[in-house]
C-alpha cells in the first residue's frame, strides 16, 4: 500500500538515503600526492584499476571542488601547514583517506622531520595499510568510505568512527 502501487513509475525513498546515494557515487578526490603512494594512486586511476568504476576518478587539484582528500605519502612538518590549509579550503561535507603507513602513523620515519600520522592535523575517516598500499587497497578504502557516506545524515554532521582497511 502506498504511492508506488498507484503510480508504478514512482519510487519512494527517504531523502537521507537519496542524498547519501548521490554523495557516495560521485566522490571528487583531492589528491595530496606527497611521495611513493602518489604513484600507486596514479596507478589506481590508470587503465587497469580504473577508479572511475566507483565514481571517484575526477581528481581535482583544487580543494574547492573536492570532497575527499587522499593523503598519499609522507607528510613532513614543513608540509603539514600547507596540508591543513588545503583541508580547510575544502567545502563540507568532506572526508579524508590516509593512504599508506606514512600518512596513517608516520610509518618508517620516526624522526624529527615527519608528522607521525596525519590525524595529528586533520580528522581521518579511513586508514589504509601498506607501504605503499596496492591499488586494490585504495579502491577498498574508497568503498569503505562510500559505506560511511551512505549512512551519513543530510547535514553531513555525525560523529565519525575511523575505519582501518588492511
Amino acid at each position: 500500500m502506498g504511492v508506488e502501487e498507484k503510480f508504478p513509475e514512482v519510487v519512494t525513498a527517504r531523502l537521507t538515503d537519496l542524498v547519501g546515494w548521490a554523495r557516495k557515487n560521485s566522490l571528487w578526490p583531492m589528491p595530496l600526492g606527497l611521495s611513493c603512494c602518489a604513484i600507486e594512486m596514479m596507478a589506481t586511476v590508470g587503465p587497469r584499476f580504473d577508479l572511475s568504476r566507483f565514481g571517484a576518478e575526477v581528481f581535482r587539484f583544487s580543494p574547492r571542488q573536492s570532497d575527499v582528500m587522499i593523503v598519499a605519502g609522507t607528510l613532513s612538518w614543513k608540509m603539514a601547514g600547507v596540508a591543513r590549509r588545503i583541508y580547510d579550503q575544502m567545502p563540507d561535507p568532506k572526508w579524508v583517506i590516509a593512504m599508506g603507513v606514512c600518512a596513517s602513523s608516520g610509518g618508517l620515519y620516526r624522526n624529527y622531520a615527519v608528522v607521525p600520522g596525519v590525524d595529528r592535523i586533520m580528522p581521518v575517516d579511513v586508514y589504509t595499510m601498506g607501504c605503499p598500499p596496492r591499488p586494490d587497497t585504495l579502491i577498498r578504502a574508497v568503498m569503505e568510505l562510500q559505506k560511511k557516506i551512505a549512512e551519513l545524515a543530510i547535514d553531513g554532521r555525525r560523529p565519525r568512527e575511523p575505519v582501518l582497511v588492511q
Partner: protein, 410 residues
C-alpha cells in the same frame, strides 16, 4: 581677424600605442606549489613575473625531507635497503642496487655472475618503469592526457613481472648484500621475454602519439634550453646532460655490473631543450629493451647469492635446518661489521648519477651516508632554463627535467 594656418596631421600627431617602457608594469610575485599538479610532488617555485616572462625563480625544497641520511646512522647495512627503495620511488630496485654495490665495495664481497645479471636486468626494468611514468605524466603536463593511459598500461604489465619476482609491486626490498633475495625462475624469464618482444611496438605507439604531434612539438621544442657547458657546470647528469650533446653515461664511463659486456648505444641530443630530453628518454627505453634481450637470452647459471656466509644472509630454508647457518644468520643480522673505510659508488639511475658515499667506522651501522641524488642536482638547472621563458613553459620544463622529490629532499 585671425589668420588661418595650414596644418597637416601626421602619424606623429595621432595618439601613440604605448611603447616599451611607457607602460607601467610591476613584477608580480607568484608561488607555484607545493601542492601543484605540475610540480611532480611537493616542490614550491617562487616566481617573479614580468607580464608573462619569468624574471626570477627560486625553487623551495624540503617539503618531503624525511631524514634518510640520519636514519642510516641508526640502521644496519641490510636494513637501509628499505629506505633506499623510497628515494626515487619510480625505480626502487635501481636505488637498492646502488646501495648494495656501495656496501659490497666497502666489504670486498664478490657477487656471483648470475646475481649480477639479475641485478642488471632489474636495473633496466627500473629504467623503463621510471621513463614510463615520466612519459605518462609528461604527456599529461603538456596536454596529451591519453599518453598517461598508454604508459600506465605497460607499467602495469611490467609490475606484474616484478610482483612475481619479488612479491611486491613497488618498494620491493629484493636485494641482499652479496646477491639478490630469490632466484629468477625460468617461467618468469619466458614471460619477461614476451613482454620485451611486445614493448618496442608500444614505444612506436608513444612516438606516434607524441613525437610528431604538433602541439607537443610546440610545447617542447626550444623550451628550457641549456648548453653543454652550462649543464656540466651545474653538475647535471643523466638524460638531461645527454640531451645537450654530452654522451656521458656511467654504464659506459665507470662500468659496473655486467654493462661492459653488453651492447647498447648512448643516445645524445643536439640542442639541449625539452624536446631533446624527451627524445633521449624514448631512445633509452629502446636501448633498455635491447639490453634486456641480450641478458635474458644468455643468463649465466650459478648462484644468486654469494656463498660467503660470514658476510651474507644464508638462505632461509637452511637457517631452519642447520645450526651453523642459524648462527651465521644471527651474526649477520645483529652484528655484521664491515671494515673501516670510506667508499663512493655511483650508478646510472634513470635521472642521472645516483651515488652513495659511505663512511664506515667498522661498526654494524654506517658512520655517515651521503646520497648524491641526481634529482637534487638536476633541479639546479631549473633556474637557467626558466629565466626568460614564458610562464606557461615552466610546466614543460619541470616535466622534462623530471626530478623526484623523494630523492631530491631525501
Amino acid at each position: 581677424m585671425t589668420t588661418l594656418t595650414e596644418r597637416i596631421v601626421t602619424v606623429a600627431d595621432l595618439p601613440q600605442p604605448p611603447g616599451e617602457g611607457d607602460l607601467h608594469s610591476e613584477p608580480m610575485e607568484l608561488s607555484m606549489g607545493p601542492q601543484h599538479p605540475a610540480t611532480h610532488g611537493v616542490l614550491q617555485c617562487k616566481l617573479i613575473l614580468d607580464g608573462e616572462k619569468i624574471v626570477r625563480i627560486d625553487p623551495v625544497m624540503g617539503y618531503l625531507h624525511r631524514g634518510k641520511e640520519k636514519h642510516a646512522e641508526h640502521m644496519t647495512y641490510q636494513q637501509f635497503f628499505t629506505l633506499t627503495d623510497r628515494l626515487d620511488y619510480l625505480q626502487p630496485l635501481a636505488n637498492e642496487v646502488g646501495w648494495a654495490l656501495t656496501v659490497e665495495k666497502l666489504a670486498g664481497i664478490e657477487v656471483p655472475a648470475r646475481a649480477q645479471a639479475i641485478r642488471t636486468i632489474i636495473c633496466e626494468f627500473m629504467r623503463l618503469s621510471a621513463h614510463l611514468v615520466w612519459a605518462g605524466i609528461g604527456g599529461v603536463d603538456t596536454g596529451a592526457v591519453s599518453m598517461f593511459m598508454y604508459a600506465f598500461r605497460d607499467r602495469e604489465a611490467l609490475f606484474d613481472l616484478l610482483d612475481e619476482l619479488t612479491g611486491l609491486r613497488t618498494n620491493q626490498e629484493y636485494l641482499r648484500i652479496g646477491g639478490v633475495g630469490t632466484d629468477l625462475p625460468a617461467e618468469l624469464i619466458v614471460k619477461m621475454k614476451a613482454w620485451i618482444a611486445d614493448f618496442p611496438a608500444h614505444i612506436d605507439q608513444f612516438e606516434l602519439l607524441l613525437t610528431g604531434n604538433r602541439i607537443f612539438h610546440q610545447r617542447m621544442r626550444g623550451v628550457g634550453q641549456i648548453s653543454a657547458a652550462q649543464a656540466i657546470d651545474l653538475g647535471v647528469t643523466g638524460p638531461c646532460l645527454r640531451a645537450t650533446g654530452v654522451g656521458v653515461d656511467l654504464r659506459r664511463a665507470r662500468p659496473y655490473l655486467l654493462y661492459p659486456q653488453l651492447e647498447f648505444d648512448v643516445p645524445v641530443g643536439t640542442r639541449g631543450d625539452a624536446y631533446d630530453r624527451y627524445l633521449v628518454r624514448i631512445e633509452e627505453m629502446r636501448q633498455s629493451t635491447r639490453i634486456l634481450k641480450q641478458l635474458l637470452d644468455q643468463l649465466p647459471a650459478g648462484d644468486w647469492i654469494a656463498k660467503d656466509w660470514k658476510n651474507v644472509l644464508p638462505p632461509k630454508g637452511r637457517v631452519y635446518t642447520s645450526m651453523e647457518e642459524m648462527i651465521h644468520q644471527f651474526k649477520t643480522v645483529t652484528d655484521w661489521c664491515p671494515p673501516k673505510g670510506e667508499v663512493y659508488q655511483a650508478t646510472e639511475a634513470a635521472n642521472g648519477e645516483l651515488g652513495f658515499y659511505l663512511l664506515s667506522a667498522g661498526e654494524s651501522h654506517p658512520y655517515r651516508v651521503k646520497i648524491r641524488s641526481p634529482s637534487f642536482i638536476n633541479l639546479q638547472a631549473l633556474k637557467p632554463m626558466a629565466i626568460g621563458a614564458w610562464f606557461g613553459d615552466i610546466v614543460a620544463i619541470i616535466a622534462s627535467l623530471h626530478f623526484i622529490m623523494g630523492e631530491c629532499d631525501r
